[in-house]
Symmetry: none
Subunit: 243 residues, 2 copies
C-alpha cells in the first residue's frame, strides 16, 4: 500500500489522538515541532493536519495552535444490575440489618459534599444467605432524614424512601485494610483487604443528597465494568491517583 508522506503522518497523529493521549481541547505540538519530529517540512505536516481537520478530529486557530476537537463521544460505563437483583435471581435471600440509626454532626467529608451540619447516619449490615457481605453507612441530610424511621430503613431500600427523584451518582472504588469494627461485622481478620466504595448520590437537579460508604470483604466481591467501545488505552479506565 503506497501512500504519501502526509497521509502517513496524518495516520500517526490520528492514532495518537484517538488513543486518548490528548484530552479534548488540548494543544498539539506546533507545526514546527511536528515538522522536526516527523522530519518533514512544515507544509507537509500542515497537509496532514488539514486532513485531520476535515475528519473533524482537530481544529486550529491562527496564532494559537492545533487542538483536539470537542469531545468524541465518551462512553458511559455500562452497568450491571444491582447486587440485590443478582442475589434474587440466584435464589439467594438477602437481608438488611440496621446496626445504627441516629442523627450526628456531619463528618468533614460529608459536610463538604452535602453542605449541612447535622445528618442522619444509618449503619447497616447486608447479608446474603445469612452471610454478612457488606457494611454500609449512609449519611443523609437532616431534612430528608426527618421523615424516616428505623423500621422503614430496615424494610425498604434507601432510594425508595427519599422524597426526591434521584439522578446519578459518582462511585469511587478503593481498597483498604479492614478496620477492627468492620472486620468483626464481616467475619474477616483485621487488616485483610476490603473494597471500600464511596458513593455520592445526586438528585435529578444535580444536588448531592446522599453520601454512602460500602465496605466489602475482598474475597467475596469484585466490581465488573463493561466498556463497550474502543478504549483509549489498555490501562483500566476510571483509575486515578489519590494524594
Amino acid at each position: 500500500m503506497r501512500q504519501t508522506r502526509y497521509q502517513t503522518i496524518a495516520e500517526g497523529l490520528r492514532t495518537e489522538i484517538e488513543s486518548g493521549a490528548y484530552a479534548a481541547g488540548r494543544l498539539l505540538p506546533s507545526e514546527a515541532e511536528l515538522s522536526e519530529r516527523y522530519a518533514a517540512s512544515r507544509v507537509t505536516v500542515r497537509r496532514a493536519l488539514e486532513v485531520l481537520r476535515d475528519e473533524g478530529l482537530v481544529d486550529s486557530r491562527q496564532g494559537f495552535g492545533w487542538f483536539v476537537a470537542a469531545d468524541p463521544v465518551r462512553q458511559s460505563l455500562a452497568r450491571l444490575g444491582t447486587i440485590e437483583a443478582q442475589l434474587a435471581q440466584e435464589g439467594i435471600g438477602s437481608e438488611r440489618r440496621v446496626l445504627d440509626f441516629r442523627f450526628v454532626p456531619a463528618p468533614p467529608r460529608v459536610r463538604q459534599v452535602l453542605g449541612c451540619d447535622t445528618v442522619l447516619r444509618v449503619r447497616r449490615l447486608n447479608l446474603a444467605d445469612g452471610e454478612p457481605f457488606a457494611v454500609v453507612t449512609v449519611w443523609c441530610p437532616e431534612e430528608y432524614g426527618a421523615e424516616l424511621s428505623r423500621a422503614a430503613v430496615e424494610r425498604s431500600p434507601f432510594y425508595e424512601l427519599m422524597g426526591v427523584a434521584l439522578g446519578g451518582a459518582t462511585q469511587t472504588i478503593g481498597a483498604t485494610a479492614a478496620a477492627a469494627s468492620e472486620a468483626d461485622l464481616l467475619g474477616v481478620p483485621v487488616g485483610s483487604p476490603v473494597l471500600r466504595c464511596e458513593r455520592i448520590t445526586r438528585a435529578t437537579s444535580g444536588e448531592p443528597v446522599l453520601v454512602s460508604e460500602h465496605v466489602f470483604p475482598a474475597h467475596l466481591t469484585e466490581f465488573v465494568v463493561d466498556l463497550p467501545h474502543a478504549e483509549a488505552s489498555m490501562a483500566p479506565s476510571g483509575l486515578r491517583l489519590v494524594d
Copy 2:
C-alpha cells in the same frame, strides 16, 4: 502534552477550589500573590481567573479581590481519562519499565479466555514521577505477539502495537493482599491491600485478544465511576459476588 500557561493555572485553581479547600465566598490570594506563586505574569494569572469566572466558579470585585462564587456550580466531576492522560496533564512524567518479555504456556485462566496454548507474556512496571504505581502483566496470543519487540513494548502503549482494531473491554476490579513479588516492586509491605484489575480486551469482532492484570497499591489509587443516570439502587452498581 502542550498547554498554554493560563490553561494550566486555571486547571490548578479549579481543582483546588473544587476540592473544597475554599469555602463559598472565601477570598482567593490576590493576583499579585498568585502571579508569584505560579511564576507567571499578572496578565496570565488574570486570564486564568477569567476562565474560571466564565465557568461560574469564582467572581471578583474591583478593589476587593477574587472569591469563590456563592453557588459554586456543583459540576459533575469531569470524567477522568486514562491515567496516562491524567499524569501528562499534571505534568508528571510517566515511564514504563519492561521487567519480563517472553513466550510462555498460557495459564489456565488466560487459556480459557484467549483459547490458545502459547502466549506472549509481558510484565511491566509503570512509574509516575519515578515512583512505581502499577505492576502490569499482559498476555497476548502468539500470533499477535510474534511481531512485537521488547523495545517497542517499552516505547509504545500496547494497544498501538496490536495489528487489529480494538473494540471493547471488560474490567474486573477486586482487592487482594499484595504478594511478595508485587509488594517488592511497588515498594509496599507484603500483605498490604492492593487493587487488582483484570481486563479482557476484545477486537471489534468481539474476539478477546488481550488479557491483562493491573496491580495498584491501594494507598495510591482508586477507581472513579460516573453513573449519569438514575439508578435502581443505592448499592454500588457493577458489584458482584465471586464464587
